[in-house]
């Protein structure tokens, strides 16, 4: 009986030792990859930051109105944001590679999916960035046009334009990474359609006279366009 117990214990210990002998090098490799990944990510972050500073990326974003949006949301400058993004993406990628080295099957599937999704995530981020830039451009154009036309709520109009374009960009970005495929598109279509229908109704019923005057002024009676100041500036 004693011999049997000893044998069983010895076998367990041998199995554990074998497991440890097998796992520890992997763990060590994981830690090394994790640390090297951190260093590589940091180096890439510095390189990206230098390149972006060299091409004056911050000024470009400022011109397009992107910096102001980041400032409003208490985010760092576009250069800093992009270099940090590179750092985290690279480090996470290294971390996942390191984790896959442990040989845990369930994790490996998720890691493979993540790597397949990575290009899509980049495209989605790009869509989002371009969307924000376009939204800011048209938002500002609407604000200025409304102010100069003495419209009653220039900021509301501008915010609406910006909001709609950003929503469209977010929808496209989420669609790209396969989140809520179909649902988001349908939700957006319904929401957009509802807003447009509401506006059409409001304009058609509530502002029939205004609409008539506007159309007459624009298409029929453009000769009678009145100067808001009543004087020639040239």
């Amino acid at each position: 009986m004693g011999n049997l117990l000893l044998k069983s214990l010895t076998q367990t210990m041998e199995g554990l030792s074998a497991m440890l002998a097998d796992f520890l090098p992997r763990l060590l490799a994981m830690i090394i990859i994790f640390i090297v990944g951190g260093i590589v990510a940091w180096i890439l972050k510095v390189i990206v930051r230098r390149i972006l500073s060299f091409v004056r990326f911050n000024q470009l974003c400022e011109t397009a109105g992107f910096t102001q949006l980041l400032t409003k949301t208490a985010l760092p400058s576009p250069t800093e944001l992009l270099s940090r993004l590179v750092f985290w993406v690279v480090w996470i990628a290294f971390t996942l590679v390191a984790l896959s080295g442990l040989g845990i099957t369930a994790l490996n599937d998720e890691i493979t999916r993540f790597f397949l999704l990575l290009p899509q995530i980049f495209v989605a981020i790009l869509i989002l960035l371009v969307g924000v830039l376009i939204a800011n451009f048209f938002g500002r154009a609407t604000l200025l046009a409304a102010v100069n036309a003495n419209s009653p709520s220039p900021r509301l109009l501008s915010s609406m334009v910006r909001f709609l374009i950003i929503i469209l960009a977010v929808t496209m970005a989420l669609e790209r990474i396969g989140l809520g495929h179909g649902v988001i598109l349908i939700a957006f279509s319904i929401a957009f359609g509802a807003v447009m229908f509401g506006l059409a109704l409001a304009f058609g019923l509530g502002g029939r006279d205004a609409a008539r005057r506007l159309i007459e002024k624009r298409f029929i009676d453009d000769q009678k366009k009145e100067d808001e100041d009543g004087i020639s500036h040239l």
């Binding site: 004056r56 000024q59 400022e62 011109t63 109105g65 102001q68 451009f137 500002r140 154009a141 604000l143 200025l144 046009a145 102010v147 100069n148 036309a149 003495n150 220039p154 900021r155 000769q223 366009k225 009145e226 100067d227 808001e228 100041d229 009543g230 004087i231 020639s232 500036h233 040239l234």
Partner: protein, 421 residues
């Protein structure tokens, strides 16, 4: 030769040979007024330049109201009803068309090309809708070019005290300070050029640029000044045009004309950055000032638009103006309409900071120019209030004071312009 000259127009030019004076009347649906203008030009040519070879040219922006037909049929048949003598030479009328999307640049480029090919000594451009145009305008514009060897003749009009506010408050003072010449109308509808200057304009590679569509006149004036062509001014008398034309969209006007001025500053930087002071430009004719008719003004509405406009676009103005200038502008906007005072110094600072921001491309340039409109309204509101009961002499003094302020503060423009982004 480029394709902008049609075969038919080239044939007309070839048939015309050489001329001494070319008068161009660019049109775009001006059926109602064109006959008067063509007749005045013809009488002017026959009366004041009977011995010179002259041609009348009509570049038309594809009018749909029969303007070009009206030009062709508007020839004066019997000059005895206007003059004691009949013409010694026959007067040719050349007609051509251009696409309306090319704007003023389309008509002016055709005019310069025609002047170049016809070897015209003087080229005069007049508007098709100025009902106060007289034969004397042709003499006033063409004679200094033909007889006194001037290269550029710009007009001086007899205007209502509150007309041409953008010219008086921004265009003329900035041109004077930057280029060093006291030109009263730097963006003229009527002007005359020597053949040499016309050829110089034609050789410039700017005709396809966007800003030229509506801002060509200001580019032409500043280009002539920056290249040391001899400039003069001619007093033409009152300028009256249809109400339709007076009712221009202010934001669009600022965008076109101030944009063209800022663009010209960019092109001529090497010339103006080192200039200081200004010199008078010779004036022909006998300037008289009359306080012509009352103007319909809505100062209160203008001030309200300034107030609400600047408040709405503070975030945009923050990117253009320095903190101190913006604070002062907002202080004016927060005041009362009855006490609105937008001082010269603040206005000049504002304009120079806008010019520098335009140069540094702090944002889309069209947006930047549109953002100037509400601030301009504030300045004009103040100008109208201050000068409501001012005598003409006082008005002249105040105009001079603004121009001097512009000259005094020019280092600010140079500094802002050369500041690193």
């Amino acid at each position: 030769m480029d394709t902008y000259l049609s075969d038919d127009f080239l044939r007309q030019l070839t048939a015309a040979g050489e001329v001494d004076i070319l008068v161009s009347i660019p049109t775009a649906n001006n059926r109602q007024t064109i006959e008067h203008v063509v007749n005045a030009v013809q009488v002017g040519l026959v009366k004041y330049f009977p011995r010179e070879r002259a041609a009348l040219m009509n570049p038309d922006a594809s009018s749909r109201d029969g303007t070009q037909e009206a030009v062709k049929s508007a020839a004066v048949r019997d000059f005895r009803s206007y003059l004691a003598a009949s013409p010694l030479r026959s007067l040719r009328t050349l007609t051509t068309s251009y696409h309306p999307s090319r704007g003023q640049a389309g008509a002016l480029r055709l005019t310069m090309a025609a002047a170049d090919l016809l070897r015209a000594k003087a080229c005069v451009v007049v508007s098709p809708d100025v009902t106060s145009l007289t034969p004397e305008w042709i003499e006033g514009l063409a004679r200094p070019v033909l007889r006194e060897n001037f290269d550029l003749l710009t007009p001086i009009y007899q205007r209502h005290r509150f007309e041409g506010l953008l010219v008086r408050n921004l265009l003329a003072p900035v041109v004077r300070a930057a280029y060093g010449y006291r030109i009263e109308e730097p963006a003229p509808d009527e002007a005359a050029f020597s053949g040499k200057l016309a050829s110089h304009f034609l050789a410039q590679n700017v005709w396809q640029e966007d800003f030229m569509r509506n801002g060509a006149p200001i580019w032409m004036t500043t280009t002539a000044l920056a290249n040391s062509f001899r400039a003069g001014q001619s007093f033409l008398g009152p300028k009256v045009y249809p109400a339709k034309r007076a009712a221009q969209d202010l934001a669009g006007t600022i965008q076109h004309f101030v944009g063209a001025l800022f663009q010209s500053l960019e092109m001529h930087e090497s010339f103006w950055a080192g200039q200081s002071g200004s010199q008078a430009v010779p004036v022909f004719g006998f300037p008289t000032e009359l306080d012509l008719g009352p103007a319909r003004l809505n100062r209160k509405k203008m001030f309200e638009m300034f107030q609400s406009g600047t408040r709405e676009i503070v975030s945009i103005l923050e990117q253009v103006l320095s903190a101190s200038t913006l604070r002062e502008v907002l202080e004016v906007a927060n005041g009362e309409e009855a006490r609105c005072w937008f001082p010269d110094e603040l206005w000049v600072k504002t304009v120079y900071e806008f010019a520098a921001a335009y140069h540094r491309r702090v944002m889309n340039r069209d947006h930047l120019l549109q953002a100037l409109t509400p601030v301009y309204r504030g300045r004009i509101s103040s100008y109208l209030r201050e000068n409501r009961g001012a005598a003409l002499e006082q008005l002249r003094e105040r105009r001079e004071a603004l121009q001097m302020e512009c000259e005094r503060m020019k280092p600010l423009l140079v500094e802002g312009w050369s500041a690193k982004t």
